[in-house]
């Protein structure tokens, strides 16, 4: 189901606003991640979609239907909580059957559906155990099965992978993707881990301090960050950020003067700093000094000094010596200028020629 927020704001105590005027539409059948640092309001947004929290102002639509006034009971979404919240006194099968029991489905039918779901999430061999006897990954899968049991038109996941170890996390996010594609349910996935979001979602919504920063595909988010926050938040290693004043004329002949006049911050992705000229993709050349050079596995990282500022690059072909002078070729893709509000005014698609 399509979810639309129209000018939704929320404050818990009436004075301090947690979320400010959110406007977005989540298309039907997609997997959307809500991504942001801790405390940015992403779980709160999810709670408002579920109906556990009511917005202070604004409207929420499921499809064409205004559900703003409906509570969680009436909205009938499926939700997986961060700590799964499986009923500890019920077995795995009973947990999965619970929403069906509440929906007054007949017992044999309930059992049949629950078993199908247990199979879907691969816990069919655990159905008689209590949640306490399961591992984190199994609990999470049971929680997903429970959320899917009543065939919701919307599946909400609140940081479902944060309690799992690294390997299981990767396995489970593939699992979530698989289940989402098999069932076709519109899925909203809250996470603070960009890796998770970038890997499984069709679209990513970046939130910060209760404001939506950008809502687009993972690729667009990386290639065309709409502002400095998104540019800094997405990408590993983190984008190099400099002041425009750190440059001494290197950009003048490549960036239009009226844009350069408004630019305050400069963002350069580590892979946009190359030690070899790529011709037309090069936007500028800069002179730097090597501070540190690390090589592990297939990765080569260099810490460079540029007019007293630190730069990091991952695109080094030759081995470097400390304190060696190095000319770097700044690539077009991965070079951005931001104005004083942090808005991107140069770089990415908008300046592609």
């Amino acid at each position: 189901m399509e979810v639309t927020f129209k000018d939704v704001s929320l404050s818990y105590d009436g004075s301090r606003e947690i979320l400010h005027h959110l406007n977005f539409t989540i298309p039907e059948g997609t997997l959307v991640s809500i991504l942001g640092p801790s405390g940015c309001g992403k779980s709160t947004t999810l709670m408002m979609i579920s109906g556990l929290l009511a917005p202070t102002s604004g409207k929420i639509f499921f499809g064409d239907k205004d559900v703003t006034k409906q509570d969680a009971l009436a909205r009938k979404v499926g939700m997986v909580f961060q700590n799964y919240a499986l009923y500890p006194h019920l077995t795995v099968l009973e947990n999965i059957m619970f929403p069906l029991k509440m929906a007054k489905v007949k017992k044999p039918e309930r059992k049949k559906r629950a078993l199908e779901l247990a199979k879907l999430v691969h816990v069919e061999d655990q159905i008689n155990k209590k949640p306490g006897a399961l591992s984190g990954g199994q609990q999470q899968r049971v929680a997903i099965a429970r959320a899917l049991a009543k065939e919701p038109s919307l599946l909400l996941l609140d940081e479902p992978l944060s309690n799992l170890d690294a390997r299981l996390r990767i396995e489970m996010r593939e699992e979530i993707r698989r289940i989402q594609q098999e069932t076709g349910v519109t899925t909203i996935f809250v996470t603070h881990d960009q890796d998770e979001a970038l890997h499984i979602s069709d679209h990513i919504m970046v939130l910060n301090n209760g404001d939506m920063q950008q809502f687009s595909s993972a690729e667009t988010l990386y290639d065309n960050p709409s502002n400095l926050f998104v540019a800094k938040f997405i990408g590993e290693p983190v984008i190099n950020t400099l002041e425009i004043s750190d440059f001494q004329g290197e950009l003048d002949q490549h960036v239009p003067a009226d844009i350069l006049k408004n630019a305050v911050s400069v963002g350069i992705r580590p892979e946009a700093l190359q030690d070899h000229d790529s011709g037309s993709d090069t936007i500028a050349t800069i002179e730097t000094t090597v501070k540190e050079f690390e090589k592990y596995g297939r990765e080569k990282n260099a810490q460079l000094d540029f007019h007293g500022k630190k730069l990091l690059t991952t695109e080094i072909e030759n081995n470097l010596e400390k304190d060696q002078k190095l000319t770097l070729y700044l690539q077009k893709s991965g070079f951005y200028l931001f104005d004083q509000d942090g808005k991107r005014i140069f770089g990415g698609d908008q300046d592609a020629k």
Partner: protein
């Protein structure tokens, strides 16, 4: 060391730590239990010289044939059945309501806890007045509904009911506090999950609150059963040192007290104590086996 193997020395050391408590427990609990078991078989016994001249089953034969003891057993069972379920239900309901109160919640909790910290004798005195057939508050209240005055404490028909009402009220405070602790320990997430799963308030109560509260309910029940089986002080205080009109509130412990302190039949008193012990044991074992299935820790 966490993985230390038990040795003679370490065990001895552990016993040394336990010794002070052990000493008190053995002197005041273990020894009296053993002694009263033995005493129940003393048929000819001089209490002051502690000389036993004859032992046998006579004490048990006596109490099993004593109509007073039959009354005591019957009254005790009525008391337990009358007090425990109602105490559990009422204190759970009050705890649920108190849990909803945001305003002055501390004050309300204190008010409901007061009966627990007040002495039984003082409570009984107050209730004595409430139950007064001429000037009592209860009869006045009932008269508003056109009910004729009832002699609560003087009529054998009502004496047990009066006792049960007072005992329930007295038990509430502590049980409410236990239930409140239990309610606070239930993670809010379960209610949110239940709401998402389509459970309305009643289903949330039966499917989340009740099962997750079951350890506390179990504790309260066991506690109540054992406490009610041992009812004595409230009877003594409410009926001014009598087991109620025509023994209508005579319980096993009251019977024991009478045999021991007023009739000096130590063997018989001990025998009734042993019977009570096995009754409580039986009920507790039944409760424990029930709890294996229905209590979720």
């Amino acid at each position: 060391m966490l993985n230390e193997k038990p040795t003679l020395k370490s065990t001895g050391k552990a016993f040394l730590y336990l010794l002070p408590m052990l000493l008190i427990t053995v002197t005041f609990n273990i020894y009296p239990i053993i002694k009263s078991f033995m005493m129940s078989f003393y048929t000819k016994y001089d209490f002051f010289t502690d000389k036993v001249s004859k032992i046998g089953w006579d004490n048990f034969t006596y109490i099993f044939n004593d109509p007073d003891f039959h009354i005591a057993v019957k009254n005790t069972l009525i008391f337990v059945v009358g007090v425990v379920p109602l105490t559990v239900i009422i204190s759970l309901v009050i705890a649920l309501l108190l849990n909803r109160i945001k305003w002055l919640s501390g004050l309300f909790r204190t008010v409901y806890f007061l009966p627990f910290v007040t002495s039984t004798v003082a409570i009984a005195q107050v209730w004595h007045w409430i139950y007064n057939s001429d000037y009592g508050l209860l009869n006045y209240f009932l008269s508003l509904f056109g009910v004729n005055p009832i002699s609560w404490l003087e009529s054998p028909k009502y004496a047990m009911l009066s006792l049960i009402i007072m005992s329930i009220w007295k038990n509430l405070g502590f049980n409410i506090v236990l239930f409140l602790v239990g309610l606070n320990n239930i993670n809010e997430r379960y209610y949110q999950a239940a709401k998402i799963d389509g459970a309305n308030s009643w289903h949330q109560f039966t499917n989340v609150t009740l099962p997750l509260l079951s350890p506390i309910t179990f504790l309260v029940t066991i506690n109540g059963v054992i406490g009610s089986f041992k009812a004595f002080d409230q009877i003594f205080a409410l009926f001014n040192g009598n087991p109620g009109p025509s023994k209508s509130a005579l319980t096993i412990v009251y019977y024991l007290y009478q045999k021991f302190y007023t009739e000096w039949k130590y063997g018989i008193a001990a025998a009734s104590g042993v019977v009570l012990f096995f009754m409580i044991l039986l009920v507790t074992v039944i409760q424990l086996s029930y709890s294996k299935k229905h209590v979720h820790y």
